[in-house]
Symmetry: C2
DNA sequence: ATGCTTATGTAGTGGTCACTACATTATTTC
DNA sequence: GAAATAATGTAGTGACCACTACATAAGCAT
């Protein structure tokens, strides 16, 4: 069994480059030419390594989601749920307004943008969205069990509210809002915390 | 001076059809063929009446914005700011989840989606966004003057928070959230109202 | 070294894109 | 009715799209 010529580029690094292009131009707006140029490879290498444009997008979404799932887990591990959620939103603001990258969130863009994605992409979007909301929900349920939340609080609804605020922040960032603007939004958003 | 052959279609109705296509497919995803088919006209008529694809999109955005500006003004006219804002968000939920139309908001989609729009489109998006936030801000300032809000409240920040929640709702709707889901989000969001 | 396997670079493929030339038709003005 | 004007339908235009055929290069096993 022979092993063949080795790949001359790092798959994850290429994915990160592709992700940036998708983030800046959207799925439809990003051409294979844009992508290959940013990734530093030629079309046949892209297709050999990633399948096609949709599958490349899926893999970029997957990687992007994994990276942020780690951060999410880290900030949610704060002593109290309230601190964890605040950290989550503050962290989101920082990421969304990071000037070294295109503003906004790839997930929000993919959900709202195109609209007619393939089944593979829709599935991935749904899964990652649910992962995120479930992580928040779990933290809240845990908090409720610990007596941090009033008895009447619905953790699922609160989780969805927090998710919605996060998505709103992503839209704001894409529209050019500053970090200061968004931090004040977070201040207000946390005012909804059940007392 | 002669007047020429009259246009055989209603410009506003054609704009509404175009708007629906853009809303469903996004700017990049909507082809001229998609548009002309939905509008019931041929390409030369489209170009003669609207200029080009970008200008058509601009005009669709303009019309869309005007329609919702009216609704906004109507609901914000409620006796108190708190009632007005609640009505605004409840109305948004209803519109965003209207099953007879593609879910979501064209503005949010345009802001978050593509990314590399022409100057004309970016200008329009910015203007409409500011119109919306200013309408909320004005209502809040008026409320503050009337003693409805605590002295320390920053109407600009509150207006941005409300706008952000509305944008988050649009993302949720685009992602398939139900009216019930979003109404519960609004319940929480209003919990942030300064006391 | 030779054969096997896999990645790479060059150079395209058909298809669709936004957009338009042109002849024709419909309407108003004179 | 004739001239002027403007919208319409047919049928394209070159450009760019996602994607690939093919010859070559680079590594491993023997």
């Amino acid at each position: 069994m022979a092993a063949g010529r080795p790949r001359s580029f790092c798959k994850n690094q290429a994915l990160d480059r592709a992700l940036e292009v998708f983030r800046r131009k959207g799925f439809d707006g990003a051409s294979i030419c844009d992508l290959t140029e940013a990734m530093g490879i030629n079309p046949p290498s892209l297709y050999a390594a990633f399948g096609n444009k949709e599958q490349l997008f899926c893999q970029a979404l997957d990687r992007y989601g994994d990276v942020y799932a780690e951060r999410r887990a880290a900030v949610l591990a704060a002593p109290t749920a309230r601190e964890g959620i605040e950290a989550l939103l503050r962290d989101a603001v920082i990421n969304l307004t990071d000037k070294t990258k295109p503003s906004g969130c790839l997930y929000v863009q993919a959900i709202v943008g195109g609209g007619e994605h393939s089944a593979c992409i829709r599935k991935m979007l749904k899964a990652k969205r649910e992962d995120s909301e479930r992580a928040i929900f779990n933290r809240l349920e845990c908090a409720k069990a610990a007596g941090e939340l009033p008895g009447g609080t619905d953790p699922a609804a609160l989780a969805r509210y927090i998710t919605t605020v996060g998505q709103g922040l992503a839209v704001q960032a894409a529209g050019g809002a500053t970090r200061k603007d968004l931090d004040r939004v977070v201040d207000f958003a946390l005012g909804a915390w059940p007392a």
